[in-house]
Amino acid sequence: MPAKNSKVSVVSKPAMAINEHVVEIISDSGEGAQKCGQSFASIAAKMGNGIWTVEIIPAEIQPPARSIEGASGNRIRLAADRVTNGGDKANLMVAFNEQVLLGRLHADELADGAIILLESKWRTDPNAAVAKSYSNVYERLVADGFKPIEVPMETECLKLVADARRGKNMFVLGLLCSIYSLDMQLARDQISTIFKKKSAKIISANHSLLEAGYDWAEANLDIKFKIPTTPAKEPHIVINGNTALGLGVMASGMEVCAMYPITPATSASHYLSDVFKNVGGVVHQAEDEIAACAFAIGSSYAGKCAVTITSGPGYSLKQECIGLAVMAEIPLVVINVQRGGPSTGQPTKPEQGDMLTAVFGSHGDAPKVVMAATDIEDCFYSVITARRIAETFNTVVVLLSDAGLATAQQPCPRPEFSEDWLAPPIDQSPVEDGRLAYDWQLQTGRVNRIIPGQPNGMHTVTGLAHDRRSCVAYNLTVNKEGVRNRSLKLAALQKTLKTPPVFGDDTGELLVVGWGSTKGAIEEAVQRVRNDGYSVSSLHLRFIQPMASGIKEILQRFDKVLCVENNWSDDMEDDLITEDNRRYSNLAWLLRARSLVDIDCWGEVGEQPIKPGTVERVIRDRLAPRAINKTAPNRAAAGRH
């Protein structure tokens, strides 16, 4: 072991120190680029690099091979320090064929001068059309100023294995280990781990492929980078947002998750289906989303606080049930992993388009708590908080995540379990005489609920207007009492919320406001322009409803306020759009109404999470529209929406 290790260090060329890089590995689906990317990220993370990975997922199960839409793979941002988002365009791209590469080129995902490593076998493909296509793309790349490096992946792999299609990804991993000066022992260990259910023979074949890739790179490439590492002092976990949600459910003490499959929420339930049993929990796949929500309500009513996990279409279906839980004051956690809308929309793409329907959804006055997770770690802790709020206030807590967070991986400090995260065991003690089903507290609207099994507490909950005894109400006074108390609970919760901190100075020219998953990208963009001396700060919200106090005061301290969101807002530059008819972005609606500050908004409804570079451009644009217009020729393509 030491021998090989030392051999590697010996042949190594001097590495150029860089601070960060965005690397993409793309292939047809089934060729393993995902696995390669994830392994690469893991190794880097273990060495102490900051990482953030983004999945590149084709929309079909088995898209045609060598097709533009078929690109499947992984984007890994790795950096010396912690990173909070996927970064901007790719600095290095490994492509298994020229078509998937073309897809990324069309999507404008390659940075100027990006390094391209391209499987060369297609140049000599027996099918003339394929060979032609390859050389066309190659030439176009060259014309565009790239210097693609052709790598004989297939040829090299065939020296070691019979089916190169299944081996290439580990060869590429070796290649990348060489390029980024990663620890080969960690790489070998990684392979041993991911193939641990496979035979020793397979593991060793993959080790050979890894090393072949490494050696080939050492021998043939003169690119070598070294990104400084700061090995973690504390244990970290590397997980994606949906796994974090699943772990959060386990850690929150919830016992029941009722769901119906829907992308991109389902992988959280997949994970839970696998592991929830170990803590006594159960995942119930219901016949539809309505049943899933009703099931969760039934379980919560019976004292076992439950969660239901879904995405947009399922969320819309649950509206009536959510209103019932609000009305009957039954705790319920609803997780909505948002995807591109409206309707079936773009199932695998991120969007933050469901906030307003979360806030205002369900007929009548149905006040519920709406939270949004800001990063992977926050996905975990938000579930725990959501369960606690749901049970403290006997109400519905909607937790918003999105397709971006769902599949992005990031290291975060390993949580230390605390029993405080769990609710106490359900109360089955007799109810004292005179205590009513809805003994609303005058000040807070709160109620201590009575759970089936408690002697002397018998009553019937109902979605009809009802009085303190849970009897159907027939008059204004009684109805009003219920409506008031349910609303008041939000105010009571609001009093406990801290004003979110301003990122940057407390006053200034421009305040960028965001919520949920865009935190990393926005703050990075703000930091960049601040470094250039601009007077820009940002504010990021986790609690959408209720909203912490003090926000209006912050907004007022800036000359301009701009909401940046991953959802639609009409563009003032569109001919027909005026102040009078502009449809604002989700958060802008709420903030404008609450603060009366003239908040502008910018949004994107696209394929990927918003990039820091995009936000940066938007900021610069807002600060000096004309100047930017001239100096950023790329602007149109990159889409100031």
Partner: protein
């Protein structure tokens, strides 16, 4: 007949529970409404079984019949139109100690709730479901329901409904994982009681369709059957319902039917000129979903900690020092 936790409690020396204890709010149904008879039968059953009131939950949807839980002295959940069954499943899932009953209407169950009904049958959770079938939408004041006979004049079918009535028995008998189906009528208290009792005693999803009179909106619907015992066909069997001599004398049309005989049941449901009353099908060997999915260990903070740590370990990068 399975033994229930609640049965055992009888020996604990508590005072006997009286019928009154199982009464809740004053029923607000119309005079002569068949729901009243169902309520009486159920209250009697609870008393006879000496159920602990706090351990019983009645779940319902929306409709006249779904007001039922309010009138019981137990816990109740009066939820949404069509969604009684999934709520009841959620209640039962991790609270097997609770006795769960469901009251649903023909609209609630066979129309808006039909998918849940099909799947509840398949889950086969241990609960007793009474479908109050008055062949009409009562609470919303007279619209045709799926079970309304063809030609029913209602507010949405003023010239008479167009379709043949939907048959809930035939439908149930086609559903997978079926474990118990019976039919009762509100106007023969003895049978009503016996059938609900068998449903309660069956461990699994017991579906009981009860023909229920709605004098307000379907005054003549079941009159012929009420008046003429010949219009009924009583299903009897030693593993099903056994008739009292009194009943046996009045209701002459009887048929030995073994509840295990599915094809026989389908024939009865599909072809009978007469209204069958009794147990159509019962199969005690279908497992209950809540049993299949119960936790294998006692859930404690320690268990959760252990499970969570195991998971976290999988994803952890430990400091290399």
């Amino acid at each position: 007949m399975a033994v229930r936790a609640t049965d055992l409690l009888l020996s604990s020396g508590d005072e006997e529970h009286t019928l009154e204890e199982y009464e809740g709010r004053m029923p607000r149904w119309c005079t002569g409404c068949g729901d009243l008879a169902i309520l009486a039968a159920v209250q009697k059953l609870c008393r006879d079984k000496q159920l602990n009131r706090e351990k019983v939950v009645f779940v319902s949807g929306i409709g006249c019949s779904s007001r039922f839980p309010h009138y019981m002295g137990t816990y109740g959940f009066h939820g949404l139109h069509g969604r009684a069954l999934p709520v009841a499943e959620g209640v039962k899932m991790r609270r097997p100690d609770l006795d769960v009953f469901v009251n649903t209407g023909d609209g609630d169950c066979c129309s808006i709730g039909a998918a849940h009904w099909m799947h509840a049958t398949r889950y086969n959770m241990n609960m007793t479901v009474m479908m109050h079938d008055n062949n009409i939408y009562g609470l919303t004041k007279k619209q045709a329901s799926p079970t309304s006979p063809k030609g029913t004049r209602s507010n949405t079918t003023p010239r008479g409904s167009d379709l043949d009535a939907f048959d809930p028995l035939a439908a149930t008998l086609g559903m997978s994982n079926l474990s118990f189906v019976a039919q009762a009528v509100d106007w023969i208290p003895e049978l009503l009681y016996k059938i609900i009792k068998q449903g309660y005693e069956h461990r699994g999803f017991s579906f009981i369709r009860i023909l229920q009179r709605c004098p307000e909106f379907m005054p003549n619907r079941f009159e012929a059957c009420v008046q003429d015992p010949d219009k009924l066909l009583l299903l009897t069997h030693k593993n099903g319902i056994e008739l009292s001599p009194g009943l046996a004398k009045v209701y002459k049309n009887q048929k030995e039917h073994d509840p295990l005989d599915l094809v026989g049941a389908q024939e009865i449901a599909g072809t009978s000129e007469r209204v069958p009353v009794g147990i159509l099908y019962r199969n005690d060997s279908v497992p209950c979903y809540e049993d299949l999915r119960q936790p294998t260990e006692l859930i404690t903070p320690q268990l959760i900690r252990k499970g969570l740590e195991t998971e976290l370990d999988k994803f952890t990068i430990w400091p290399s020092d």
